[in-house]
Symmetry: C2
Subunit: 191 residues, 2 copies
């Protein structure tokens, strides 16, 4: 039988999940959404919301972290460590674009509210996949070694997010983005 403490924890976890779900939807559809609106959509009181997420910024970071962790799982399933590095890079780019495309608007908001440097820091886990794969490509002789590794990672990360931004502003079609990214990045990265 559940103790009071166990039940309290289960309630808290359920509330946190409901808040994160509601915040993801509202930040995406109505970026200006207030904490009050998010509490209402999550079916929790304001006091409960603020007890878990003391500010809009903390909540946005938590939503972002969960989204990026899910993206990391999807990227892992694309097995960037398997097969020839160039093929694995193509797979990684397409998978990354696919998950990024689903959350384009959330990232646009995060770029504005957290700034580009903090947004990139929170991507550390997914960016690590890119870096490991590029290092493997360098060992295989197919990825250039004349530029700092960090810059190669910046190039991949930045152009992926630029494509998302161009889709947001209607300058690029979402369904063309993966091809365009591959056609731009492979020549920029290969040795």
């Amino acid at each position: 039988m559940a103790t009071t403490e166990t039940r309290r924890r289960a309630d808290a976890e359920r509330n946190i999940a409901a808040i994160l779900d509601a915040a993801l939807v509202l930040f995406t559809e109505e970026p200006q959404s207030s904490m009050v609106a998010i509490a209402r959509a999550a079916g929790v009181g304001r006091v409960t919301l603020y007890s878990h997420f003391p500010s809009r910024e903390v909540l946005l970071e938590a939503v972002l972290d969960r989204t990026i962790a899910e993206a990391g799982e999807v990227i892992k399933k694309a097995a960037p460590e398997e097969g020839a590095a160039t093929e694995a890079l193509r797979r990684l780019l397409r998978t990354s674009w696919h998950v990024l495309n689903q959350h384009r608007k959330l990232f646009n908001l995060a770029q504005r509210e957290l700034g580009p440097a903090r947004l990139r820091q929170r991507h550390r886990d997914v960016v690590d996949h890119v870096e490991r794969l590029l290092a493997r490509g360098q060992e295989e002789g197919v990825i250039r070694t004349d530029l700092p590794m960090n810059w190669l990672v910046t190039t991949v990360y930045t152009l992926l997010h630029a494509a998302a931004e161009d889709v947001n502003t209607g300058q690029l079609k979402a369904e063309e983005a993966a091809d365009v990214l591959e056609a731009t990045l492979l020549p920029a990265l290969r040795s």
Copy 2:
């Protein structure tokens, strides 16, 4: 002899110039600077400041527009319409990096406070130089024609600003950035 009206206009222009000068320095050195601090540094009263720039956002846009207009002049002097397109592109990249590097911190602030889409809109004039030069390169057969022109421009614009951001965060040395940009962009753009 100057009329009262002429004198009033000259005063206003002097005040505006002083405000823009002070705002450029403060936005760069202390991005959180308040309107009060900017008025003080410019040697004008708050009422005068607000009569010309009704909000911090309007003032930031004006500082940015002046900076980008100056950058446009510098780029024009590098004569992107002269010589072989590839050489002109190299010159354009180096000149653009040089002016961007001087205002890295202002652009970081603008990206945060205005968002990437509005920041790019305000770059229209300088971005036009890039687009015209890439179109000339396509006619000369040295720039790729298989991707949308707008995406090629995005690639140049985005990687320039990404380099500025990497210098801001200490991940790239300012003095290496021009070489790194050229080495990344030429293979990504050429046919």
